[in-house]
Structure formats: structure tokens, C-alpha cells
């Protein structure tokens, strides 16, 4: 089992630790609901060092990544970040990732923890196949990744950050110092709140974690992270999507660069689009009390029409919410469906994603 540079901090603070994607990770500290509330109304910090971190450098770097992801990488300016998708030849989703352009010929890619090895193999495969002039450098172990999220995130970060963060808009990244430690600071996140994801050397992680706590941020585990991301309508690879579904089915078409795209999987996506979809990912909310969970059947009066891929109790909305794939005819907003919660049919309604958006 792998441990992040913050493992000791978690244990000494009494976090509940559980295995996740081969890592021993904090699932919760004070409690999932209290942590989720802290992020919505104040600020929370998450150790997400288990996620992959691959530096891609070299004269072909932009072109190389451009051919592997659904988004436009060539147009990305230095200091920009982009949420994008890696597809296989059939258009299936290998992973979703954020790509950061740190310099003209230097990028950082952050795949999901559970897909980090597969993504690296995929990058290496195409590097060799295309004889790309790039270097792949995995920096996962030598660095930590801390997410500082919530309405007070900026107030907590700014006093100890060398860069004026008011100039750094969403999906931008800068290189600077936090508490004197060299860091890559990005205004990105997985909670639906304003906030930052910060890559820093492993040896600096504990002191900066402590600085954020001193500034008032509440340590949060993966349990709260899952609740927050689902409320914000953000998908989780391995639950809400995998290599058997396309970005079109997953409702991620807005991340597909149809016009200038030249990426693995694009021909298959064209074909899929012209044939029309048979299923789609929808969001739903329970009309009655209950908690939907991954794997529960979605049914209507005539039988099963799909499966729940993610579900939770939403503390912000005080109701059960979830995502799942249904036959296209049931994907219209307002459609009444039921969730089979261990034999109990609970009424639900197809609703817009995200379930929650912060007030700006």
C-alpha cells in the first residue's frame, strides 16, 4: 500500500484511513457532513497526492497531447489548465484529466489515481509509435498535491503565497512559492467551490498542510470529496464512466474538439454521433427519502431502464442525488423514474446537472 507525504499528518490527526486505488488515504476526519459543510461555507484541504502527475516536456509535447485528448491543446497558452478526456480508438474513456501548460514545451497531466499506470502506458505507447520528441517524467512520488477549496480558500492562501492570486482566474496556473516552498498553484478543483490545487515538493507538504490549517482550513477526506464533487455534477472515472462509454454518452460532448480535433478516438466519436446515442448519463434527485448508491437499478413502471453510477445524500440540498445511465427516451429533464433501493422503489426525477452551483 502506498502512502502520501502527508500520511503521518493524517494519522496523527486521527483520520480514518482506508485503501483507495492502492493508496492508504484518509476517508474522513471529523465527519463527512461537517467537512463538506466547511468546504461550502469556509474552506477545506484535501490530500490528493494519490492522483497521478506526469510531466510531458519536449518540442513535440503540445502536438503529442493534442493527439491524445479530446480538447484543443495547441491553442492553450502558457499558464492555462484544461479539463479534457483521453479516449481509446473506439471512443471509450480511458481517463479524464487536467492538463496544465507550464511553459511552451512543458505540460503537467494529472490522471486519476486508479488510472495513473494505464495512462502512463498509453502515453509511452504513443510516444514510441509516433517517435515523438518528448520526455515523460512521473513526479507523483517526489511531489504532493493539496487541494484548498471553499469561499475562504483565497484568503487563506494569499498571505503565504508569493503570487498575487487575484490575477489567476479559474483554470489558470502559476509557478511561485507557498510558505517559501516552490509550488505550482492552479485555480482548479473537484468540489464546485472556488479554490486551488497545489503541486509542491513532498518534503514541504506537511508544513504547508499545517499552514493551511493554521489559516482556518478544515482537513477533509475522500468521503467529503465524493459528496462535494457529486453535488457539483462532476463525474468520477471508474464509477460514472469507463472505457465502455464515450464522452457523448457521458454528457461530456462540450469537451470534444470536433473542429480542430485530431485525436485518438475522434473517428469513432463521429460515427457514434451520426448513429445517434442509445443511452445517456442523467442526474436525478430522490423525491422521497433515501440514499441512492452505485449499482442500484433505475426502473420505471415496466422494468429496469438503467443503473445508478454514483449516489449520495446531499447535505447541501438535503436529499438523495445521483447519476446513472438510462435509455435515451428517459433522459429528458423532469422524467419520473424510480430507484430500486434494496427492493424498495423510491421515486426520483431526472434533473439538471450540476445539482449545486455556487453563487458567484
Amino acid at each position: 500500500m502506498k502512502r502520501t507525504p502527508l500520511f503521518q499528518s493524517h494519522v496523527s490527526m486521527g483520520a480514518q484511513m482506508l485503501p483507495f486505488a492502492g493508496w492508504e488515504m484518509p476517508i474522513q476526519y471529523s465527519g463527512i457532513l461537517a467537512e463538506a459543510r466547511a468546504v461550502r461555507f469556509a474552506a477545506g484541504i484535501f490530500d490528493v497526492s494519490h492522483m497521478g502527475r506526469v510531466e510531458i516536456t519536449g518540442s513535440d509535447a503540445a502536438q503529442f497531447i493534442h493527439r491524445l485528448v479530446t480538447g484543443d491543446v495547441l491553442k492553450m497558452l502558457t499558464g492555462r489548465a484544461r479539463y479534457t478526456i483521453i479516449c481509446n480508438e473506439a471512443g471509450g474513456i480511458i481517463d479524464d484529466t487536467i492538463v496544465y501548460r507550464l511553459d511552451g514545451e512543458r505540460f503537467l497531466m494529472v490522471p486519476n489515481a486508479s488510472n495513473a499506470d494505464e495512462v502512463l502506458d498509453w502515453l509511452n505507447h504513443w510516444k514510441d509509435t509516433w517517435a515523438s520528441r518528448i520526455e515523460l517524467n512521473v513526479i507523483t512520488e517526489e511531489t504532493a498535491l493539496i487541494a484548498l477549496q471553499g469561499p475562504l480558500a483565497e484568503e487563506i492562501l494569499q498571505p503565504i503565497c508569493s503570487v498575487d492570486m487575484s490575477d489567476v482566474r479559474p483554470f489558470r496556473c502559476v509557478q511561485g512559492q507557498v510558505s517559501g516552498v516552490k509550488a505550482i498553484i492552479c485555480r482548479t478543483g473537484y468540489t464546485g467551490e472556488n479554490g486551488f490545487e497545489i503541486v509542491l515538493p513532498a518534503e514541504g507538504a506537511s508544513s504547508i498542510w499545517q499552514s493551511f490549517m493554521d489559516g482556518g482550513a478544515i482537513p477533509c477526506g475522500l468521503g467529503a470529496r465524493d459528496v462535494l464533487r457529486l453535488e457539483a455534477g462532476l463525474l468520477l472515472h471508474g464509477s460514472d464512466m469507463d472505457s465502455s462509454v464515450t464522452p457523448l454518452e457521458a454528457g461530456l460532448e462540450r469537451y470534444v474538439n470536433w473542429d480542430q480535433g485530431d485525436f485518438i478516438g475522434l473517428p469513432a466519436l463521429y460515427e457514434s454521433k451520426s448513429n445517434g446515442l442509445s443511452r445517456a448519463l442523467v442526474g436525478f434527485r430522490l423525491v422521497e427519502r433515501g440514499v441512492p448508491r452505485h449499482g442500484y437499478p433505475i426502473v420505471n413502471g415496466h422494468g429496469p431502464i438503467g443503473n445508478v453510477t454514483s449516489g449520495t445524500y446531499s447535505p447541501t440540498l438535503d436529499m438523495g442525488i445521483g447519476l446513472g445511465y438510462v435509455s435515451l427516451e428517459f433522459s429528458t429533464l423532469g422524467t419520473r423514474i424510480s430507484i430500486d433501493i434494496r427492493g424498495r422503489l423510491v421515486e426520483a426525477e431526472v434533473t439538471a446537472i450540476p445539482f449545486y452551483s455556487r453563487k458567484r
Binding site: I27, Q28, I32, L33, A34, G290, V291, Y313, R344
Partner: protein, 128 residues
């Protein structure tokens, strides 16, 4: 640390003799701690009759869902509506305000087969 005025099951429920012919049933501090934030309780209707270790209902936290088992046989004579409406009370006060159901026991001597507080604590140590 575990109240000595009641008995405990291996499934982390407690049963307390109310000295009026009824018993209160709830879950232990260990159980609520492991479940985490409780958001939903499914409990039987008043009047239901059940056997010992029969499924009483379900307790659902943000993390997971667990069956509740009835530690002693009997008829459900009251359900704690406060806990149904505000399940977090079970986290906050599992031994008092967070009780779940009141039972009119059919075999009160089943209590003798349940663990004392001291036995339950040793049992918990054996789990770690």
C-alpha cells in the same frame, strides 16, 4: 465508558430495561462512530412483532448502509420519531435521545444472553 444499565449484542445494538415492562433498543457508540454521519433510518411500524436477531430495519450513513437486528424478541410498541426525523441525533446521543424503538418483549430472559458493558468492551477489543 459503555453504560452498565443495559445489555449489548455482537451486532452493536443495545437493549435497556425501562422497568415498565418495555425495553428501549438502540445502537452503540462504536456502531455510530463506524457508520459516520447517519442520514436515514428505516424502522418498522408500531405493532410489528419480531424475533430476536430478526432484521429490525436499516441505518444509512453517507458512507454505507447497515442492517439493524433486534436484540430481543417482541412487539414494537413505539418508534423514536425524533431519530427518524433527525437521524444525526443517533450520532450525537446514541444511548439516550438517539434510541430507535421501544419493544414489549416476548422473552425477556433473552437479555441474559446479551453482553454486559464489560463483556462488550472486551468484545470490541477483540475486533481491533
Amino acid at each position: 465508558m459503555y453504560p452498565t444499565d443495559r445489555r449489548y449484542s455482537r451486532d452493536h445494538e443495545w437493549a435497556k430495561d425501562e422497568d415498565d415492562g418495555t425495553f428501549l433498543i438502540g445502537i452503540t457508540d462504536y456502531a455510530q462512530e463506524h457508520l459516520g454521519d447517519i442520514v436515514f433510518l428505516e424502522l418498522p411500524r408500531v405493532g410489528a412483532t419480531m424475533n430476536q436477531m430478526e432484521k429490525l430495519g436499516e441505518v444509512e450513513s453517507v458512507k454505507s448502509v447497515s442492517d439493524l437486528l433486534l436484540p430481543i424478541s417482541g412487539e414494537i410498541v413505539e418508534v423514536n420519531q425524533v431519530a427518524v426525523d433527525s437521524p444525526e441525533i443517533v450520532n450525537e446521543d446514541p444511548y439516550d435521545q438517539g434510541w430507535l424503538v421501544r419493544v414489549n418483549p416476548s422473552q425477556a430472559d433473552e437479555m441474559d444472553g446479551l453482553m454486559t458493558a464489560a463483556d462488550y468492551e472486551s468484545f470490541l477489543e477483540s475486533l481491533d
